[in-house]
Amino acid sequence: MSDKQGYMKALKCRECGREYPLTATHVCEFDFGPLEVAYDYERIRKSLSREAICSRPQTMWRYHELLPVAGEPTVGRQVGYTPLVKADRLAKRLGIRELRVKNDAVNYPTLSFKDRVVSVALSRSVELGFKTVACASTGNLANSVAANAAAAGLDAYVFIPSDLEQGKIVNSLVYGANVIGIKGHYDEVNRLCAEIAGKYGWAFVNVNMRPYYAEGSKSMGFEIVEQLGWRIPEHTIIPMASGSLLTKVHKAYQEFIKIGLMGEAKWKMHGAQATGCSPISAAQKAGLDFFKPVKPNTIAKSLAIGTPADGFYALKVMKETGGHSDDVTDDEIREGIRILAEDEGIFAETAGGVTVGVAKKLIASGRIAADSSAVLCITGNGLKTIEAMTGHVGQTRDIRPSLREFEALLAQDKPQLVKG
């Protein structure tokens, strides 16, 4: 690998194709289109084989040639390779032949898929000489930046809306990050963060480092293919906030074919949103190529982006692959969380409930055929959004430490188990 570029060639505008040096920059100077990392696939093809991958440690970095870090990663070296769980009980409930759950609820170190994107963004930030990293976040991203920056000895600034719940703030403060609450509407917070990123030149992971950051999501797709026995699933169902994860998992499947690790295949990418924030899903269902901004109002806070940066591209991928999108209400989200927990022992955050709920709808409507295989991408841990389920999962029943009282209770529930 070259010292400065690795297997990367340039940053390239997704709109006009103009190329830029591999620095901390994110929009094209001509049309303000987003920049994306372009790779030297011919060189990667010569270096990366199934055997090479299998010989490496079980982390997301086993595919490092296809990730935008020039040298060895310095941040988040243990991230990824989360379980791909065969979910037979949930498959039976939803009425599909084969179902698997890609479980990033147990990703390392902060229990969400954000550790993938953050470890890439921060490793690249170190390569580019940054000492301070930053993000604007209401949850998982803040936790991941704070934790990974702490482990790497980087100074971290985390910007949050000032009215965020205390529990979510503790999850960032504990790592010693500078947490700055911003008073004001979401729109104002949003623009201020873009301005801070421009003025201070810090490595703002989802602003000026976004071309590198977003590529980290591809590792979820690489792992799915490898863990399925080098097979691309017929259907992949992905929760959409900005829409980036859906486009990047799709790109991962394409890249494995492009470098010869897989033969040609067909697959469908499906997107899941909450009804209370469904700009992409609404556009897909209406057959539009663009989304209309919305004001979010949903318990799925991790998907609550009313103006999704990759919404246009997610719509394009769903259209190209023949995929669909749908959205679910707060009650359907809770049901999704509950059935994933009851059937597979996986406690997902609200975005997971959205994914399960939408999968249920797409299977019931026949858009995902009953006789097919699907993968659900679970992106975060339920322990982070306990408030969404509080009061919706039953209650404990208290008894005194008496066998008689216990047996009275058991007799009500399951009388056949009571021994005389």
Binding site: D31, G33, A136, S137, N190, C193, S242, P293, T307
Partner: protein, 93 residues
Amino acid sequence: MAAKKSKSSKFATPSSARLWLMYPPKLIKQPVIWELTHKFDLVTNVRQASVTDEIGIVCLELEGAPAEVEAGIKWLRKLGVNVEPVELGTVES
């Protein structure tokens, strides 16, 4: 839409903003950018645009004194235009 091109700034301490403006259908016929440059001392430069029956989307560079830029953005929002930085949603979960 009206736009002036700026090659070098005419402002002493310029502030610039790179924005996506998204118009609801009721504003599509209104010359919003022309009005903006007449109400405020601002230079505008359109980089991308798409207008359909459903929505008007304009990618705009705005330059002027910081207070004018702020006031212009406030006026756009009050009018019903959705104003976001070109990065769109920078606040993620």
